[in-house]
Symmetry: C2
Subunit: 754 residues, 2 copies
């Protein structure tokens, strides 16, 4: 998708108006060449404008998705405001009653405020007013939250952490904006002095570290303070929000936009936190655009906010985000943050591909942008959103490694996620050069994600479990090489943040997407280099399609090491081409630390030199075979997660580990091949057996050649040059079975018949 090169369809809006001096709305609408020009000088004018409200009031009188959503939301709000206002004394941590109640309150105030604008029924405004007045009574009396976790996260007052307090204010400042015109001066004074000014002070000058932090907590806080500044007419707060408390530009929203995203809009912590961070970025940007359009915030850094929204979509497969780093795996594109992001992006760009995503999100927002989306969906204007193969350069300069996505369609969407990315701060996992594979909607080679049951009190208070550190973050929990049973960077976040892999190349042609990366700093004295290629062979006459992933992982050192390469597979083990020595009556634990203490050793094998194959069956009904080249000394270890897990916190998932011991250099070469179908419902099984008959790997100079031989003596040779710097017109040649082959650039796939 390339909606950044389009002229942004930004409405022209007058400079920041003094609308808080007035409670009378003056709305002038005129249509000039199809562009609506709205002049609003009163409430609402923070994120939504009076012009938006006019359109929405009209839309709820016409049949369509927007009206249906309005009716449903109104019923929900009506039911809630029929209950007494409940503003409990803060007591519980995340997931607990008072925590959830205060969360519900801000959402309810926002929703009721919007109902007031849409229906002009004063009851809604009164409800919000009364709740705000209750908060204004309570807030000045509050000490720090009793469940605060000192030293770990900044404490809040309404909530255990100030992050939630900022979130509360992002919504509540909007709710206030929505009902502002209904309030008298005394009410405004009480609410502003009793609530908004103290909470802004608490979040800004009283918490300089969080406020100035270039981090998503900082984004929520600056957005909350800046938005409140617009509503209260405190432009100084806005300046602080944009440039940091001292307005030097070393903190604040703009440097967050500069630092936290790569030039392509990738967020350093990964998609799970990217979507979380998206909401304050998008919402505050929208507020800036509404109040100070001359700042051209959506054009800032070549349209970084819109790029970030688009990148968040690209970072998904079958509606779910790629679960790298600390990530709850069921989070996907229907998350409210991205619903909001897509609506705002569509409002600005009118890109029809966004409607495809909006349709899948299946949630209409009662906002001006939500209306635009709803009306476009009513008209069925959506076009397929284009998911791409892309390497997202990491870091603010885009040069600190990359997160690589490879995609192709072979009777269904396939994706390889390759992660030569930077550490991604405290939520990052130690999984340099790891990969994941997806096919027909399912995870095939998987990542554990975070060890956490969000908000489930019985599971460590709903926080990240201890096993998140002892298992999920450790290298062995991922699909990358572990040296001497130690974790990358010895599990030091500081060291991880200070180092990153190098992306050597990312290229593609019609049938192949290929990428290579390396890192020398994950282990002292050991160089790791991995090349992954996602390949689709030309369709056979029979209509049969063949695809596979080639994986060449090279570890080199001057000293001898143990190299482990795990494959965390999803499915049921069907067969192995070698004999298994399975533990029958007692399961030992695989290791002592760095995640190994959580693995049961279920079986092991030492296949003879040559081709070794492991086949499993995924829930999607397909078979997957991992074919590896064995040297007769490498062993295979089959594991299950679950040892040293006294409270059953971990999911009992399976892996096999390719282990080479006492070796200076070792190259793991393997091919993952989807095949066949198991259909017990219709009672047929086809192609349950791999079609690969031989694998070989040769390296001469900088040229790697992987031979994959199929039935009928047909072989494919994947040749690539992964040297650090080559010319774009580099000419390469190699000899294979006595014949000379030549290719230009980085790679080529040859088909040969023996």
């Amino acid at each position: 998708m390339n909606f950044f090169n389009k002229t942004l369809c930004l409405s022209s809006v007058l400079p920041l108006s003094k609308r808080w001096l007035s409670t009378i709305a003056i709305v002038i609408l005129s249509s000039v060449g199809g562009n609506q020009i709205a002049m609003a000088s009163t409430s609402p004018n923070l994120v939504e404008t009076a012009a938006d409200v006019v359109s929405m009031r009209s839309a709820i009188k016409q049949e369509g998705q927007f009206k249906r959503t309005f009716i449903a939301n109104k019923a929900s709000v009506d039911k809630q405001i029929a209950q007494a206002i409940t503003v409990p004394m803060p007591k519980d941590g995340g997931g607990g009653y008072t925590h959830e109640r205060h969360k519900k309150n801000y959402k309810l105030m926002y929703d009721a405020g919007m109902m007031y604008q849409l229906t002009q029924d004063a009851n809604y405004a009164s409800y919000v007013r009364d709740m705000l007045l209750t908060y204004a009574d309570l807030y000045p009396t509050l000490p720090l939250h009793p469940k605060r976790k000192m030293g770990k996260q900044n404490p809040g007052k309404l909530f255990w952490q100030s992050l939630n307090e900022a979130m509360w204010l992002v919504y509540t400042s909007q709710a206030y904006d929505l009902i502002l015109s209904s309030l008298n001066a005394a009410e405004k004074e009480k609410i502003e002095n009793g609530l908004f000014r103290p909470i802004v002070k608490f979040l800004s000058v009283d918490s300089p570290e969080t406020f100035n932090k270039v981090h998503n907590h900082g984004t929520w806080t600056t957005a909350a303070v800046g938005m409140t500044g617009y509503v209260l007419g405190e432009l100084d707060w806005v300046e602080q929000a944009l440039y940091g408390l001292d307005k030097s530009g070393k903190g604040g929203f703009l440097i967050q936009l500069d630092e936290l995203f790569s030039p392509q809009g990738y967020y350093n912590e990964g998609p799970y936190y990217q979507r979380f961070a998206l909401l304050p970025f998008v919402t505050f940007a929208k507020a800036i655009q509404t109040n100070q359009p001359t700042r051209k915030i959506f054009e800032y850094r070549d349209g970084i906010v819109l790029k970030a929204i688009d990148a968040t979509i690209q970072l998904s497969y079958n509606k779910l985000f790629f679960p790298i780093n600390d990530a709850i795996k069921s989070k996907g594109i229907d998350t409210i943050e991205l619903v909001n992001g897509v609506a705002v992006a569509y409002g600005l760009t009118k890109h029809a591909g966004l409607l495809d995503i909006a349709k899948q999100q299946n949630q209409i927002l009662l906002t001006g942008d939500g209306l635009k989306v709803a009306q476009a969906l009513d008209k069925k204007l959506e076009q397929p959103y284009e998911f791409k193969s892309v390497a997202f350069g990491d870091g603010n300069d885009g040069k600190q490694g990359a997160l690589v996505i490879m995609r192709q369609n072979v009777g269904g969407e396939q994706a390889v996620l390759f992660k030569p990315a930077a550490q991604g701060l405290g939520h990052g996992h130690f999984d340099k050069l790891t990969w994941q594979f997806y096919d027909r909607g399912e995870e095939i080679v998987s990542d554990y994600g975070a060890a956490r049951f969000l908000n489930v009190e019985a599971k460590y208070g709903g926080r990240y479990l201890p096993e998140n550190s002892t298992w999920a973050k450790q290298t062995i929990a991922h699909n990358t090489v572990v040296v001497d049973e130690k974790t990358h960077f010895n599990a030091s976040v500081k060291k991880g943040n200070a180092n990153h892999p190098e992306l050597l190349f990312f290229e593609k042609d019609e049938n192949i997407t290929i990428s290579s990366a390396s890192i020398d700093s994950a282990y002292k004295g050991v160089s790791l280099k991995r090349t992954l290629a996602l390949i689709k062979l030309p369709m056979k006459k029979s209509g049969e399609e063949q695809s596979f992933v080639v994986d060449v992982f090279e570890a080199t050192s001057k000293d001898k090491h143990q190299y482990d390469l795990p494959v965390h597979y999803k499915g049921h083990l069907i067969s192995t081409s070698f004999e298994l020595d399975t533990q029958l009556t007692s399961l030992p634990v695989l290791g002592k630390e760095n995640g190994y203490q959580h693995l049961w050793l279920k079986a092991q094998a030492q296949p003879k030199a040559g081709l070794s194959q492991i086949t499993w069956l995924n829930d999607n009904g397909r078979f997957y075979t991992n074919s590896s080249i064995m040297d007769g000394e490498t062993s295979l270890i089959f594991t299950q997660i679950g040892a040293n897990d006294p409270l059953f916190n971990l999911r009992n998932e399976n892996a096999f580990i390719n282990r080479k011991t006492k070796s200076k250099n070792h190259t793991f070469v393997s091919v993952l091949e989807p095949h066949g179908e198991y259909n017990p419902s219709k009672e047929f099984t086809v192609s349950a057996v791999s079609k690969i008959q031989k694998l070989s790997h040769h390296k001469a100079e900088n040229i790697d050649v992987v031979e994959i031989r199929f039935e009928g003596n047909i072989s494919y040779l994947l040749a690539f040059n992964s040297a650090e710097n080559i010319k774009s017109n580099q000419s390469n040649s190699f000899i294979f079975n006595g014949s000379t082959y030549q290719f230009d650039g980085r790679f080529k796939l040859f088909k040969i018949k023996a």
Copy 2:
């Protein structure tokens, strides 16, 4: 659903016509009072009639589901018949190439025959003719199949077992009927003498044991022979098919209808084999109805064929069959056998509820009945199919125990399956009085089903795995009491078939469905009695709904025993109300035999006397808490399947086992309570904790009283009388906490406030 009391809408058809003497179709259609009367004296007239064909030829000219299906099927058939005819020499067993090819051939002949009737394009008929001629060349030369498994199953010639041969003939006899009018006398003679007469002889007089067997193999065989008899005009074969080889009525189709189904249409082997058996029952019945309507086959035994179709639907939850006995768990209502059954039943009854099922099946058949379904769905005539709470009496008299289904809707469909059913022959599991629970579309308390990877060669040739006997059939693999670590009936099928539980009662009122059953023969000297109740409390003002299952399992003996009651739960363990002694670094195996050798012992506990609770989280996002009354001596054992499984054949599922040792009598009392929601996508968790605060159980005389106390000192008392024979107006009373309570009949739920 009660479509059996309706007058069946059977077409009047002339007695068996001598249509094989003629190749000219004479079709007279007249409309009398809305009833179509078809007079057909030629091909087709086995299952489909000339009148059906006239309707279908008209329908493929009109827009609708039928036409769309026709176009798709035609494209598929055209593609297949463009290839050369392939009739390979039989060589492979199930799942192998020649096996699958001969299966494809019969389906293709049937489809091409139907295309001939629909399009009148002679190419289709020629293709079928040529394939039949090829088979006619081959068949007389065939020895018994090389992969036959002697002593186990009757061998075939085209296939490894005669069952497949019969299936082949059920389809091929129809294909022949469909193209009969296109053949000359010489062709017919060759096909009939070279193919049909030899195969009929092989399946009937040469295999008297299978032919006369009252078993689904017998049904396929008699259907195949009888249908071929109609097409070839060999009424003697039909007589043999109906009454056994000696026509005594001791074998044959009619005694199969008498013996294999209960009066309510439940098939002794359970739903997985019921749907499998359904096809020959329904298809042969349809052929009898077409050719000899005076037999009134669909009225036979009070409409047993239609009852069997309906029972098959009732035996499903969320589109999948309850997986009791040997069952592949992904089999459900969209299976072709039930698609066919629903179409035939709809053709006869026009019951709109069947259209609801047909819609979910999402497959239109190119048959006369398929057309009726398609046209009704085009008109959106479907009405919700009514799934009921029902006790299916087992055995031909319906008195050999029962299979009990309890259902209710509590924000989603819930179901309890309770199995005081008979053994169900060789595919039966040793699981007397076991139960399963389903909620919001998912299994919560589950049954393993069969240990089998259907047709996956690498998994024991795709047959039932050895672990099907060593694990899946064993009692410990189910949710019922195991005495002294031994399996019911000592795993003797013969003993199992000779004994069955007694259904004591099955009753329901607005909020409760309750059933009780007992068995004294599963273990010598031990009586087992279980009562299960599915309960929905009246909705609270807040709209909150509460439901639970009460389980009272009483084991009594003169001698001391060890009693184990497992709960095979689906989900992730969240919390226990007692401390777990978890195996951290080594997993031992739980036992030595009878299935125990496959269980890893993960943790154990000995909760103190009183309430003990175990909570897990299912993939459906709900929490489930098992609350049990503990006596301080009973222990809890947490297990995972997977020990002694050298080839990774078993799924690694979890259970906990309530174990009471050295006891003559013991009553397990527990309550399963669905609650709350875990929604990591929308980031909320509610009611993750059970609302039950106390459980008690009292028994005086025949009255059991289970007290379930919730917050706020609200208690519910479930009182029931499970004595073997009571009067329908039985008056019961009991004293609880000093107060006297009274109820009539079997049970009552009292609400009290302490």
